[in-house]
Amino acid sequence: MTTSLPVNTSLPMNTLPMNTPAVLRAQIEARIPAAFATTKRPQYKFIPTGVEQIDCLTGGIPLGALTEICGSQVAYSGKTSVLLSLLAQATREGRFCALVDGGDAFDPVSGQAAGVGFSHLLWVRCGKTRQKLKPLEQAFKVADILMQSAGFGLVVVDVSNFPEPFVRRVPLTTWFRFSRVVEKQPTALVFIECKPHATSCAGLVLLVKSRPPVWTGNLLTQCNVEVEVVRAYEKKPAHSVRPSFSLNAQWA
């Protein structure tokens, strides 16, 4: 939605001095009508993540925006648990989801336990065959194809298996292109990474960290996860607001 800023057009053009800002502006607008137009960001719709604490804080994952969920690659963070919960919620709503699995790390058993509707999930396993492109490039290329095809309610690109320096080398223009493509579609584009890379192109950035897990006797039974909103589509919550929640083991 675009609106033009007010311009004083009470005086005819030839009566204005040549160097006034109004003249310059009028001349520019005559050639480029949208030069001084401001774009209003549309109101987002959300897909709930299924984690109450995150939904209360952010409203869920925004449609028409790029979201990053970040967590450590080697230490426990809980990012995959949040992802599976999100997929379960989205498939339950009847949305078709796509999971671009850069490192072929998705565990269908965990997905089934989380309640993901597999019939609504397109799973793309990258790097399993010898192709011209490397697995990381494949993941981005597939994401591009999926965004062009439209119709998917949620597209998740999991690149958290790749070393962080590799993902850092992805040009900023790529992230910018994704953010511009997704903003015109009723699709949530989610990247699972070790660290945020999309900078201002992301509408929402969540950083998930873990606290020490709980062992009951000889069994791992519970993990506690803390969420920080690094970047939000509107006013960012206070830095000190870091809700935490518990995740139980499937066998607990």
């Binding site: 230490a75 078709f96 965990s110 019939s119 999930l121 396993r125 399993k128 065959t129 791992l220």
Partner: protein, 511 residues
């Protein structure tokens, strides 16, 4: 009311039917002939009007024909003519279910009761002529109250002709005798009598004709008067949707091939659409040019089947699927002939929900999946598909899953309630080989990335085994869930000892 569709110079038009519109028009304006016979003695069996004007006659040799000016010559392809006749029938079936295959290049259809649907006979004939151009024909259409009059009119006049009931004899009077297709003997006799047109034949006394020419002569006279009554024999609709195209010069580039494939697909889809059908299986056969040095490869062909989860008659979607597949093909020789077959099926009924979330369009999704397959590949080294929806297999073996083909049509909205978020696992495929230090029958350190990491807590061993009766696929393992001290914090990993190979592996990480 009957309508007759007559394709003048059918063999020539059948040969050029799969050419693009602009080239077809160009060929219709220039001399074109069809040759047949042994390769050393090819003779002209059909010629178009410009060729006849240039002096080319049926029976001339190729050399004789070429002396009459610039001539486009093609060898006769019976398969192609059959396909053209089937296409002509399909074109007619778009207007009436009762269609008679009268002769090659000529069909008659019964239009009784279609006036409310298509309008007056004149308007129906115009529609038929327009529709026929989609099928690559430039034909004559004639409407009359009986099939034989319609047939004579279509053979006699170019374009659209409609003869009202009662005017048959009057309208047919000026047509030449050959529109009746008499035998050569009778035609000679009639010409000897000075009979040149149907009006002269119709004026002769019937008894005298029977005395001199027999029953055949009488039948010809009845046709000339437009008063024949015969049984209309509708043709059975064939389910064979095949189109072929043979290149004059074998092609080497994909662009040239795609150009023809597109045209062939358009023909097939037009035929399917006219019969309210679609296809869910497409078969392509490319015959490659035989190389003289290798006689054993004389029949070198490339064959490919595409099975679609949903029936479609959209030529653009099918073309993109074929193009994506052919992009990755390398042919050993230039392509000589293209044969494409579409297996017909009923159109897909679909019901959309007003309040359902948007979903990918089924036809578009197939193209998207084909493009993704081009990027990530089709199947991995274990034969599991790289793209589709996951399915957990009913097996005790860990990480047993299958990937099924994804479709928006088969899938139903998820009824299962999402469970409470739980600890999930990320797999390493294949599992990472590692070394584990065991102290007091418990892991003390695990090597990850050439770095030993101290075990803070361990849960196990959880023993399992299976397939012990099939030695190559037998498995036996002792699993441990371990908490490792990593530089980023505590990492929770699943490791296992393969009891058959006596080797430790890291199966995945909890996340």
């Amino acid at each position: 009311m009957f309508a007759c569709l007559h394709v003048p110079d059918f063999s020539v038009q059948a040969a050029f039917r799969c050419e693009p519109q602009s080239r077809r028009e160009l060929l219709n304006q220039s001399s074109a002939v069809i040759l047949d016979g042994p390769p050393t003695l090819l003779r002209v069996i059909a010629a178009n009007r410009p060729a006849r004007r240039a002096g080319i006659e049926i029976g001339m040799t190729k050399l004789q024909a070429e002396t009459c000016g610039v001539v486009v010559a093609r060898k006769r392809d019976v398969q192609n003519e059959d396909a053209a006749q089937a296409a002509l029938l399909d074109c007619a079936r778009a207007f009436s279910p009762l269609v008679e295959s009268t002769a090659p290049g000529t069909v008659i259809l019964d239009l009784e009761g279609t006036a409310k649907l298509f309008g007056s006979p004149q308007r129906t004939a115009s529609r038929i002529a327009r529709k026929s151009r989609e099928f690559g024909f430039d034909l004559n259409v004639a409407g009359a109250s009986n099939p034989d009059t319609a047939l004579c009119a279509a053979r006699g006049w170019d374009g659209i002709t409609v003869i009202a009931a009662g005017e048959e004899a009057h309208r047919l009077a000026r047509l030449p005798l050959h529109v009746l297709s008499p035998s050569a003997e009778i035609l000679d006799t009639l010409e000897g009598w000075g009979i040149r047109n149907l009006g002269s034949l119709a004026a002769l006394p019937p008894i005298a004709i029977v005395e001199r020419l027999g029953q055949e002569g009488l039948l010809l006279q009845k046709r000339a008067r437009g008063k024949t009554v015969r049984t209309f024999i509708p043709a059975e609709p064939v389910q064979d949707f095949v189109e072929t195209f043979e290149f004059d010069d074998p092609v080497e580039t994909l662009e040239s091939l795609a150009f023809v494939l597109n045209r062939v697909l358009q023909q097939l889809c037009a035929r399917l659409t006219s019969r309210a059908l679609a296809t869910n299986e497409l078969r392509l056969r490319l015959e490659l040019e035989s190389r003289q040095l290798r006689i054993e490869t004389a029949k070198e062909v490339y064959e490919r089947d595409w099975r679609l989860p949903l029936p479609t008659a959209d030529a653009k979607v099918l073309m993109r699927l074929i193009r994506l597949d052919l992009d990755s093909c390398i042919f050993s020789a230039p392509i000589k002939k293209v044969t494409m077959q579409a297996l017909p099926t009923k159109l897909r009924p679909s019901q959309f929900g007003l309040f359902l979330p948007a979903s990918p369009q089924a036809e578009q999704l197939e193209v998207t999946l084909a493009r993704i397959r081009g990027v990530v590949g089709s199947v991995d080294e274990n034969g599991v598909a790289c793209i589709g929806f996951p399915k957990v297999l009913d097996s005790y073996k860990p990480d047993s899953f299958a990937v099924r083909s994804f479709s928006t049509e088969k899938s139903k909205p998820g009824n299962c309630d999402p469970a409470t978020p739980a600890i999930a696992m990320r797999m390493f495929r294949p599992a990472l080989e590692t070394s584990v230090e065991i102290v007091n029958q418990k892991p003390r350190s695990v090597t990850l990335g050439k770095r030993p990491l101290r075990v803070l807590a361990a849960s196990g061993p959880w023993s399992s085994s299976g397939h012990w009766w099939k030695r190559p696929s037998a498995w036996a393992r002792d699993e441990w869930d371990v908490a490792l001290k990593t530089p980023d914090g505590i990492g929770l990993y699943r490791i296992y000892l393969d009891r058959i190979r006596r080797q430790w592996f890291v199966e995945g990480v909890f996340d």
